[in-house]
């Protein structure tokens, strides 16, 4: 094992430099104050652009699902091109436009060859979509109907049901507590007027961050960012979303009957927003718990040692005004009690005794050594830049990542574990057959 240890030390020293040498991030603001992040990757003759708007489902108001619907409708025809003509035009450019939304953000992504004629053609269509989306009634109605069927799909997935139940308990009346697709009732109530009002209010320059990655030089990138930002009205910066109010609980258990063979178990708690000082300790804690795929505590105790489940993992999702940390496992109904007790006792043991030094080191080594893998494609670099821009994280985040992880101590991990995952803060959701009845 000696040679492995020394190899890891070398990685620690070398990788941050490699990352910074490979991904040189430039940032600036356009004339109307849209901030832009850019990284040049000259090897492949392609360019990606990511437009991140503060127009996620936190902006839904009472019409849950509105942000999701608007983001889908952006690319359904623009100006004098109806949805068929618009899509045919995109197809001919060899480029792609796609859009979507999450709770914090709505995005539009563009991918194109750098060949001038191709790039100009995709950019023209993108600008058209941003300046004059059509929101034809037929498209609104079709996407509402599609969303409703999507909601039915979710209802047949015990994992999706468990996820929604958990967030509803964790965040209650905060927007994070609602599914971002909305509910059947709320989606049905959305009108074309709601859609265009939402678009006019939130798809504005003041709510936008731009990221660009690819084989374009700084001058070209600046021109692209200028073209996009100047087509938008300046608008008003959306209000800050309120933080989820703190809740005093005694630990919550929710059980739902479901016609499945397996029971899906999730145990979660609130964590922190992006940029919070506890971010890195929580990142390491989650990685050791269930993020470090085949060697994490949960994987070992539930799958390796007992063969109780195919997947046993945890995820840490910090957002703009709050976050969560969730452990998940699914197992045959007859193993439900055993799996839950292994999960609970693992968490308890970690609260009392902390992680072993070996688990902490292994998690940190994997996060640090694995970082180059997270930025080894243009698509991944783009996603990172978009995250940095949207969440206003420092542009040296990539370079300082390894150092920030390395500085996390075992004591800090124990502190955040006890602070955020104490028993009274945990919500447990079980969705599966033969539960004791709905609560």
């Amino acid at each position: 094992m000696k040679n492995f240890v020394s190899a890891i030390l070398v990685l620690l020293l070398v990788f941050p430099l490699c990352v910074s040498a490979k991904v040189q991030v430039e940032s600036w603001s356009t004339e109307n104050n849209v901030s832009v992040l850019y990284a040049q990757v000259p090897e492949l003759e392609m360019v990606d652009m990511y437009l991140a708007f503060d127009a996620g489902s936190t902006r839904d108001g009472k019409k849950h699902g509105l942000a999701n619907l608007v983001s889908a409708l952006i690319l359904q025809g623009a100006s004098d091109l109806n949805v068929d003509e618009f899509n045919e035009a995109i197809g001919l450019t060899g480029g792609n436009l796609s859009s979507g939304s999450s709770s914090d953000m709505a995005y539009i992504k563009m991918r194109s060859l750098t060949e001038q004629a191709n790039l100009e053609a995709v950019m023209r269509l993108l600008k058209l979509a941003l300046s004059s989306p059509r929101f034809d009634d037929s498209d609104v109605n079709r996407l509402v109907a599609r969303t409703l069927i999507g909601l039915d799909f979710k209802k047949q997935s015990p994992a999706a049901v468990a996820q929604d139940e958990l967030y509803a308990e964790l965040f209650a009346a905060h927007p994070y507590g609602f599914p971002h697709e909305g509910t059947a009732e709320s989606v049905k109530s959305i009108t074309r007027d709601d859609v265009s009002k939402f678009f006019n209010e939130f798809y504005v320059a003041k709510n936008l961050n731009i990221s660009i990655v690819g084989a374009v030089n700084l001058r070209q990138a600046k021109a692209m960012a200028e073209e996009i930002s100047s087509i938008l009205v300046s608008g008003e910066r959306a209000d800050k979303v309120f933080s989820p109010p703190s809740k005093k609980t005694q630990g919550i258990l929710v059980k739902r009957n479901f016609p499945s063979i397996q029971s899906h178990i999730r145990v979660g708690a609130r964590s922190v927003e992006r940029g919070h000082p506890d971010y890195f300790p929580l990142l390491v804690a989650n990685h050791a718990l269930g993020g470090n795929s085949l060697v994490s505590v949960l994987f070992r105790s539930i799958r390796e040692e007992r063969g109780l489940a195919y997947s046993a993992y945890s995820y840490f999702s910090p957002k703009l005004t709050g976050g969560s940390l969730v452990a998940a496992v699914q197992t045959d109904r007859e193993n439900q009690e055993e799996a839950l007790s292994v999960l609970d006792s693992s968490l308890e043991k970690l609260r009392l005794e902390g992680f072993s030094g070996k688990d902490i080191d292994s998690a940190k080594d994997n996060l640090i050594g694995g970082f180059p893998l997270r930025v080894d494609t243009n698509a991944e670099i783009l996603n990172y830049l978009a995250m940095l821009g949207f969440y206003k994280l420092p542009t040296d985040y990539l370079e300082t990542f390894a150092g920030n992880v390395d500085r996390v101590t075992r004591a800090e991990v124990s502190r955040v574990f006890n602070r955020y995952l104490s028993p009274e803060k945990l919500v447990t959701v079980i969705v599966g057959p033969n539960q004791d009845g709905d609560e």
């Binding site: 492995f4 190899a7 890891i8 990685l11 990788f15 490699c18 490979k22 090897e43 492949l44 003759e45 690319l75 949805v83 068929d84 899509n87 045919e88 995109i90 197809g91 001919l92 450019t93 060899g94 480029g95 194109s112 060859l113 060949e115 004629a117 191709n118 079709r142 109907a145 409703l148 069927i149 039915d152 047949q156 016609p259 499945s260 063979i261 397996q262 795929s293 085949l294 060697v295 070992r300 040692e305 063969g307 109780l308 489940a309 195919y310 997947s311 699914q330 197992t331 045959d332 080191d361 292994s362 080594d365 994997n366 996060l367 640090i368 050594g369 694995g370 180059p372 893998l373 698509a379």
Partner: protein, 448 residues
Amino acid sequence: MWPHAILSIFTTIALIALPLASPLSQEFQLSNGLKLIVQEDHRAPVAVVQIWYKVGSAHEHRGVTGVSHALEHMMFKGTKAYPDGLFSQIVAEKGGRENAFTSSDYTAYYQQWSSENVGLSFELEADRMNNLVFKEEEFLKEINVVLEERRLRTDDNPQGLAREANRALAFQESPYRHPVIGWESDIKGMRLDDLEKWYQQWYAPNNATVVVVGDVSSKSVHKLAQQHFGGLARERVPVLRSANERISQGTKRLSMTSEKARVPMLLMSYKVPSLGSVRMSDEIDEADVYALDVLAEVLDGDASARFAKHLIRGESLATYASIGYSPVSLLDTLFSISAVPAEGVTLDQLEVAITSELLEIIQSPPTQMEMQRVKSQVVASRVYAMDSMENQATIIGQLESVGLDWRLKDEYIENITEITASDLVAVVKKYIRPDALATTQLLPESLL
């Protein structure tokens, strides 16, 4: 998995002079038969290392279905030199990602990490190719994990169950009728001995392809391969006989009702050739496969393709409609349409609409514009595909594992330039026929 690939000669937008950065790729063969393919990519200081064995569910028979996949799970259980999860610990500590996947045609293992670890990948893989330890206790736990995986992916997933049933309905003789994960009773009846035999039979250097893509030099990777794999002995490996199957005695139909399903679904699968199967047969022209691939693009390539334009928008009969076709398969495979009806549309109505949309290719062959759009997209997608080293390695490994030359990765696009609208008409007439069709309707009980 395989990107529908076509090269345009002329398109409306200037794509002609597009200089495609041809990656530096090289093939080596060790004297024990192990094949090594290296593609250099120096954008980041990392590499993906994959080892592909030519064995999957297509090589299995009833009684041991799922054995390739179960063995894949056991391959993480350790050897004498690297016991009890040490392999995974090493990969994790060095910042690596690892996993494995099994399909009907192959079983593959991979690590992605710093390119300086390629030699370590080789050492670990060479070790578990020959020295895997089979412990009853580990096997019993792992077979339960596999059962849980089956419950998660198939038994608790109405669409998954319908797909499995549709495949078994379509194929009568072909081993493609078996699910990769195996039938539940076979998994439950599996013994450690079955896995060990399977391992002895198929895991040999002359049945393996190693693919490395990343920040490496081909020459030094070749050297490392010789160092670590060179000492393994060539073994006798069974030969898979042709098991192709293209036509049935008539249309096969299955109506499923499900208590778990909330959304109805329609599956229509036509038996068609693949690049692998045409090599085993003199009757079929390889061009048919390329034409079927272009057909899939014209019908379902993007948001302007015929399915989206006519079925999803247009008449609003479908909420979702897509085509699955993998030309890179070992045996005759399926050209498979899956669709979800729009609210108020029955599965029968949707089936009629899809059938006529397919036959419409004969009445109104693809226009110049449609062919051009498909070609523009595919030329571009060849550049986009280069963004992911993992993706590049996977394409190479798949081709080799079904008995094709990995260089087809690039030639594929050129071969397909010959395809015209009238070729599409011809393959629709030839393969989209009632006696090649298996239809499965999945209806939620609540909608009965």
